[in-house]
Symmetry: C2
Amino acid sequence: MEPEVLELESFLPYRLYRLADTVSREFSRIYKERHGLTRPEWRTLSGLGERGTMTATELGDQSAMHKTKVSRAVAELERRRWLTRTPDENDRRVEHLALTKAGLAAYREMVPLAKAFERELLARLSEDERAAIVKGVVALEVALSAL
Amino acid sequence: MEPEVLELESFLPYRLYRLADTVSREFSRIYKERHGLTRPEWRTLSGLGERGTMTATELGDQSAMHKTKVSRAVAELERRRWLTRTPDENDRRVEHLALTKAGLAAYREMVPLAKAFERELLARLSEDERAAIVKGVVALEVALSAL
DNA sequence: CCAAACTGGTTTCATTTGTAACCATCGAAA
DNA sequence: TTTCGATGGTTACAAATGAAACCAGTTTGG
């Protein structure tokens, strides 16, 4: 007779979520304090900063956000004049989004902070452990994508 | 001159979050479809199922939930008559929470499903990869707890 | 050509969440 | 004891989220 109890403390979905939540919450302080950005806004900013120009749909794919989140984040960044929309020539439903000078400046300011955050977090791990987390995450990503 | 660009696709906080979000969302279908539970409600149920009796504060600590989430989840489970509150003898602020028969039945029904979910997810990884994800997660948990 | 199905993106509405204020009780120190 | 700070827990309010409806505009098939 199996003891039908679930040990939350060693249940992977729970641990993963708690871990990601903690990391993300900690990291969010950076863009929240600095510029009052929400996570969707930060992701939009960094997506455009990285790739230059994208449509809302592409942004959603790249940053794994629901399209309503993208829509609202884009609207807010536009309100701040951090990005502009350019209608597509051929398909009038589509808009190409790009950062303005101000948006790019904010992005450039955030990048080193983001990198430092990651670096400091990983610095607390051994070389082995760093390799392990990367390997594990990749494996799970693959496992889930084939779902 | 460093190219001040952040590759979102390999940025650990982002990957971790996306991964946890996907896993959690997938898993939530189980308790959402089966019983219409929210995540806080599920965590409350499983916390009490595992430990028997806890106070709201203990529940919050064990399951890493903010006290308002706990409070609301407890209220809902009580409304369903899945748990009862018993006032503490010595400290009248404290209530001891425990599952009723119905709550326990729901819990017992969920446990195998949760275990199966985890098992099937991990079954897609190699032995090495399973070891890696566990090692990596533990290391990050430790790193963060010392923060 | 035209209707139907589809796609990019926005909006509406209900639900969930976080923050902060709050109430009651407790414990420690004066 | 009385007072004051901490603690267990709830509530009020604002902000974030998700689902589904929606509005163009586009494509496809007849």
